[in-house]
């Protein structure tokens, strides 16, 4: 009897090499949504206003939902009977592929909003394009998440405007957040080798090409928020290839605790 039934791997239409690339990329997207969703969920019950507590939990939920679809697809692409939970709970920090931005601590509400805004603009543009991917699974996941991401971007853009054009204190806090977080925005558009190859094959959008539209949106929102777009900032990178900040280890320690303490059980 086959106790470890292996489902037919998805992506059979691809050559093994391309399937490996697609797996790598799908994991990158899944890790990104998971870590940001995790960070946002840390706010639950501690938000500055009840309505915003709800909004953050909602966005976290959308991201976790997206994460699950992506890990399920990744597990199928891998074809080794691993599950979505194995991929989330049993991989080490150095194998996580999320960009550095999403693992940054929540800080105050201004930090959380700015991190979200920088990410949402990218996420929105990426999903908008990814919906047209010839890879049907990625296209379907993107189509569903795109609707959610449109709402996320609206929410975070409005809050950047409120905080920027609010009180002196809110502006000062937002500027401080900018000082911490802007340097992580470049990595979003920096393509890994995997991304370059998949983009060349026309399977995923060229994320570098999304940058001008992202900049335009940021400039528009910042103008309304009476903020200057930072110039000539050195951009950090590394998360997408496993070179993370020290924060990720602690996130995973917490996230993976039960699965690590009691290996192989059902919950």
């Amino acid at each position: 009897m086959d106790l470890h039934h292996t489902p037919t791997p998805a992506g059979q239409e691809y050559l093994p090499e391309k399937r490996a690339l697609l797996l790598d990329y799908t994991l990158q997207l899944a890790d990104t949504s998971l870590i940001l969703g995790h960070r946002l969920s840390e706010w639950c019950g501690h938000g500055p206003i009840l309505e915003q507590d709800l909004a953050m939990a909602n966005i976290a939920l959308d991201l976790i939902g997206e994460t699950r679809s992506l890990y399920q697809y990744a597990a199928e692409l891998e074809g080794q009977s691993r599950t979505e939970d194995d991929l989330a709970y049993l991989r080490e920090a150095v194998h996580y592929k999320n960009p550095l931005l999403v693992e940054q601590p929540n800080g105050d509400f201004a930090h959380t909003i700015l991190r979200q805004f920088l990410f949402d603009g990218y996420h929105f543009l990426l999903l908008q394009q990814l919906q047209n991917s010839p890879d049907q699974r990625l296209a379907a996941i993107a189509a569903k998440s795109f609707k959610e991401a449109s709402y996320h971007l609206k929410w975070s853009s409005e809050w950047v405007i409120r905080l920027g054009d609010g009180t002196e204190e809110s502006k000062a806090r937002l500027l401080k957040a900018m000082d911490h977080l802007w340097m992580f925005s470049g990595e979003l558009f920096l393509m890994t080798e995997t991304e370059q190859q998949l983009a060349q094959a026309g399977i995923i959008p060229d994320s570098a090409s999304l940058l001008p539209q992202w900049e335009a949106h940021v400039a528009k929102v910042f103008a309304e928020a009476t903020l200057e777009v930072p110039q000539n900032v050195f951009m950090q990178k590394g998360g997408k290839i496993g070179r993370h900040s020290e924060h990720l280890g602690y996130i995973l320690t917490e996230l993976q605790y039960l699965q690590r303490a009691y290996p192989g059980l059902e919950w």
Binding site: L34, G45, P48, I49, A57, R162, G166, L258, Q259
Partner: protein
């Protein structure tokens, strides 16, 4: 002259109560009825909000992505319940800010159950199964409560609570059918939550000062002891089904009353937790106060921005 009008208003009110006609925000109502409702609804709203903390404590450590999503959505539902309930209480002329200030000063109470800590993942199951189970028992009759906005809020709250209870039971079932370490986790959580859950129905009828008037006004439909008995009768078979032992040596089926006899709640512990001496009273309240204080600049910014925008629009 005034007394005559007042009296007839009171008669109209009493007549509505007698005929099970809902009291609505604009209707005349006795001051004491209004006060009782504000106390009860705001206490209920605060319980939803404070209740987010013990469960929120496990969102980042939930053992699977599915469990994480379910728990997050459950805790989010509770924030939603808090919102409708604050709105229902606001129809009685008290602002949300005032209610929150009363919570933070310690003047307003919230359900004591949330002053216990969540120590293991099984506590999340136990809370859903037991605590939400008790909440449903308390709340379903409130769908028929005499004050309209409260009754209507409870329809939605109860629907969602029954999902919550099911997910709690399902967590317990998975643990009880799992490895010995998981079963033990479930039993230990059950041991810790059983008695505090029985306390959720409030003091004994003989020591519940508000019950009689609330029953007469049909704010409350059953007494504390009646609901507690029903709860025990409902939960014991479920515990047996899970293979868990009820931590009560006096628990015994009583054929004559067609219900269980059960041991006495530790009322000293109950009153201590009510008075603020529970294991987490200080932590829970200070977490709420901290969120509120640290959020002050956000609320001010939102207000300042709205004013600026309104001004610009007026000038345009």
């Amino acid at each position: 002259m005034e007394t005559i009008i007042e009296k007839s208003l009171e008669e109209v009110f009493e007549e509505k109560i007698a005929n099970d006609i809902r009291i609505e925000p604009k209707d005349w109502m006795p001051e004491q009825y209004r006060k009782t409702l504000v106390r009860q609804i705001s206490q209920h709203a605060h319980s939803e909000i404070v209740g987010m903390l013990p469960e929120g404590n496990w969102i980042t450590r939930a053992p699977s992505l599915k469990r994480k999503a379910i728990l997050l959505s459950k805790v989010q539902d509770e924030a939603g319940h808090g919102l409708y309930l604050y709105s229902a209480a606001e129809t009685l002329g008290t602002t949300r800010d005032q209610m929150i200030a009363d919570l933070h000063s310690g003047k307003a109470k919230y359900s004591s159950i949330f002053n216990y800590p969540t120590l293991s993942w099984a506590d999340i199951g136990a809370i859903g199964w037991l605590v939400d189970g008790a909440a449903i028992m308390n709340q379903v009759p409130l769908i028929r409560t005499s004050y309209g906005p409260y009754a209507r809020a409870m329809v939605r709250v109860c629907k969602e609570e029954s999902f919550h209870q099911r997910q709690g039971f399902e967590i317990m079932m998975t643990l009880c059918n799992g490895a010995p370490a998981q079963k033990q986790m479930a039993q230990e959580a059950f041991n810790r939550w059983w008695w505090p859950t029985l306390m959720m129905f409030g003091p004994k009828d003989s020591e519940s000062p508000n019950t009689e008037q609330s029953m007469r006004w049909k704010i409350k439909r059953f007494t504390n002891d009646e609901l507690r008995q029903r709860f025990v009768d409902m939960m014991v078979p479920q515990a047996e089904f899970l293979g868990l032992t009820v931590p009560d040596k006096d628990l015994k089926w009583n054929e004559t009353k067609n219900g269980y006899d059960f041991g006495d709640v530790d009322w000293e512990e109950f009153w201590n937790v009510v008075k603020g001496n529970g294991p987490c009273n200080k932590d829970r309240l200070s977490a709420r106060v901290k969120a509120h204080e640290e959020g002050a600049w956000v609320r001010e910014a939102a207000l300042a921005h709205a004013q600026k925008r309104a001004q610009r629009e007026a000038q345009a």
